[in-house]
Structure formats: C-alpha cells, structure tokens
Symmetry: C2
Subunit: 204 residues, 2 copies
DNA sequence: ACTGAAATTATTCGATTGACAAGCCAGTGG
DNA sequence: CCACTGGCTTGTCAATCGAATAATTTCAGT
C-alpha cells in the first residue's frame, strides 16, 4: 500500500515535533534531565510548554525520544562512513572506526553528556538506556576490540570505557577545555588531531 | 599565638558543617548542581534545609565549598602517595602517577562527575572551577606529560583530556558499567586492572 | 461554505525549589 | 547561677516545576 502524500498539516506537525526534539536533545545535554525544564525546551523550540505534553506524553517520554534520536544518528553516521571506506586491514579499519567515533563525539557531545548524566544512578532511565541502546552497540564493538587491541576478554570493559572517555571528554567539556588550555576543541583541526591521537593510542 | 582549645559548641558546629559538606559532595555528584536540592542535601546530612543557608550563605557557596573539598583531597592524596614511593625513572614515575590518579577517580568519582557537569556551559561556576582548581593542576601536569608521553606541545591538551577521560569514565558511570558489562568497577581488582591498563596506554 | 477533528495556545493546579525571618534553647563566659 | 550568645529549628515567601485542562485557531474532507 502506498503511503499517502503528507498534507501540509502533517508536515507542520512533524516539523514541530522535530523542533521540540532538537531543543530537548540540546537542553538535556546541557543541563541534565532534572535541570532542563519543559518550559525551557519549549522556549528553545519557539513554542509553548503545553505542546510538549501534547506531542510527547511526559517529560520522561520526551527524554527517551531524544535519546533514541541521538543513537539513531550515531548508528547511521558510523555505518554510512565505514561502508564508504572499505578498508581491508583490520587494524587500520579499527583505527578508522575510532576516528569516526571521535568525529561523532565532537559533532554531538550530547551523547557522552547524557551517558554520564544517566549512568551514575541505577534508575529506570539508566536501565532503559543500557538495555535498548548501549548493550547492542557494546556487543558489536567488543569482539573487534579484543582482536585488534590485542587484549584479553577480561580487559574489554576497561578498553571500552577508556576509549569512550578518551574520545569524548574533551568535546563534552569544550567550553572548559577552551578556557583551560586555549584550544578550541570544536575546530576541525583539533577534532582531526584528537581523532588521530586516540586512534593511535588504542591501536598502536 | 596558641589557638584556643575548641569548645564543645565549636566542635559540634564544625562536625555539622562537615556532615553537610559531605552530603553536598555526594548529592552534587549524583544529580548535578540544579538537580540536587538543598532540602535533599539536608536530609542526607540528617538536618534541615535552614541550616544550609546558615552555615553556607547560598547553594552556590555550598557548591564551591564542596568543590574545594574534592580538589583538596585529590591534591593531598596524590602528593602523599607519590612522595612515599620515590621513583627515579621518570617514565615509571609517570605511570605510577597515572595509576594513583585512576585510584583516586575510582574512590572519588565525584571529581569527574562535577567536572563534566560544570564544563559544558561557560557560566560562572565553570570559570571559577577552571581558574581556581583546574589550571593550577594542569600547569603542573603539562610539562611532565610532554616529556614522558613523548608528544609535541600542541598535543598536550589532547593527551590531558584523553587521560582524564580514559581514567575516570568507568568509575563515574559505575552503575551503568556494571549493568552493561557485568564488571563492578568498584572492586579493587577492577580498579587495579584499570589503573595498569590506562598507565600503559599513555606511557608505553 | 461548513464542520469537526487536530494542532496550538492559554490557564490553572499542586508540588517543590532556594532564600529568608523569627524564635528556640543548650552551652558558654562572667 | 544567670544572662545571653550562637547554633539550630520551624514556618513562610515568591518563583518555578511538570502536568492537566480549557479555550482557541487552523485546516482537511465533504
């Protein structure tokens, strides 16, 4: 069955939803779940707070939708770019995967920020995040990590979190980094340097 | 001039202040500045909210006092333990310094959590944190980093944030790590493994 | 053109926030 | 032994929170 062409109404609806979602990702990443108010999110999306309850049932649901969006982007970008490259050497392929992850972390610091925000306490949001998004990714990464970094299975969690931290922290605290070191982590120069540094660190 | 022996009154005062401060560190690390309410902090310290305003002028001041405490502990522990070791080889000394930092990050995940919380937006708390605590430490670490990791000066910020992230993330999101990988990062086994892994990673 | 449903705005609610003021009361100094 | 200071408790304040509901506007289908 053919999906009907969306009416102006439906396009408007989707565009509004998307605008709210975008604002939510930013706000949650900036101020955490509790810190970001639905009113502030609405303000950033140039609407009003009532619309959020209308489009998403609750703040909790809005947060989940925002997290879905981030991981969807991560998966899409990584898959697309790795496919385009077609590297045969597993070590060089692993290095490039890490570089791509660093580039993503630089462009979307929200991912890391939300992970750190929600990973601290074993509440429902954390469990949902692990079960629906983190575990699937982890299980894909883990075997490659063992093979390429030349490490024992027991070291996999250590390598995983070391890589994630090394790759992301600088961009997650970009304003701090800028003030502390004078280096702006958002410049393409800095991103590429970091990508290469971390890739060589983990896959010598 | 001899400092007078503290009266029971003064001892009580100091003990209460300390209890509030301890609770504040935990709460801020767990829920961020905005997420942690002064009432919740008071509850954890087994007192009431009014006392917080009494001992510390405002929530902002309480936060600064909490940050002071964390960095004071970090400085004291690192200085003490490194002095005790007396390593001559600069590379082995650097490795041990990193191991010590990992151990501290494991015992006090608050440091990293608060850094990530406050480093995202260039507000007053971030600026204060950088100027009073981060920069002094960074300027001590930077020269050693260049010498030992064998890197160019331009790479120092990259190495610094890579190390901090690699060392701390696992412990900052300990509940998540436990659920995701099955490994409990708080076990001494895991801490030592991580310390050694990160130390060898950065100083090969 | 009309109508009814959908999208949006406006209003309201009870709960919670940080800050503050007033008073309580144990312990200290005289 | 007593006055009173200082740590502490309680109650209140406006502001803000998430959520629900009411009112209004917009537009697709007839």
């Amino acid at each position: 069955m053919a999906t009907k062409a969306p009416t102006a109404r439906e396009r408007q609806r989707e565009e509004t939803r998307e605008r709210i979602l975008e604002a939510a990702v930013e706000a949650f990443a900036e101020m955490g779940f509790r810190g970001a108010s639905t009113r502030e999110i609405a303000r950033r999306a140039s609407t009003n707070q009532g619309l959020i309850t209308y489009h998403f049932r609750s703040k909790e649901d809005l947060w989940r939708a925002a997290a879905d969006g981030i991981f969807e982007r991560l998966g899409a970008q990584l898959a697309e770019r790795m496919e385009a490259l077609d590297l045969t050497d597993p070590r060089e392929r692993a290095r490039e995967a890490i570089r791509q992850y660093v580039r993503f972390a630089a462009a979307h610091p929200e991912l890391f920020r939300i992970m750190v925000d929600e990973g601290r306490v074993a509440d429902d949001r954390m469990k949902w995040l692990v079960d629906t998004h983190l575990r699937p990714r982890f299980e894909v990464i883990a075997p490659g990590l063992m093979e390429v970094a030349g490490i024992d299975e027991a070291l996999v969690p250590h390598a995983f979190y070391a890589m994630a931290g090394a790759a992301s922290l600088m961009f997650a605290v970009a304003p701090e980094c800028r003030r502390l070191t004078g280096l702006d982590p958002r410049s393409t120069q800095a991103v590429e340097t970091h990508a290469d540094y971390v890739a060589r660190l983990l896959v010598p």
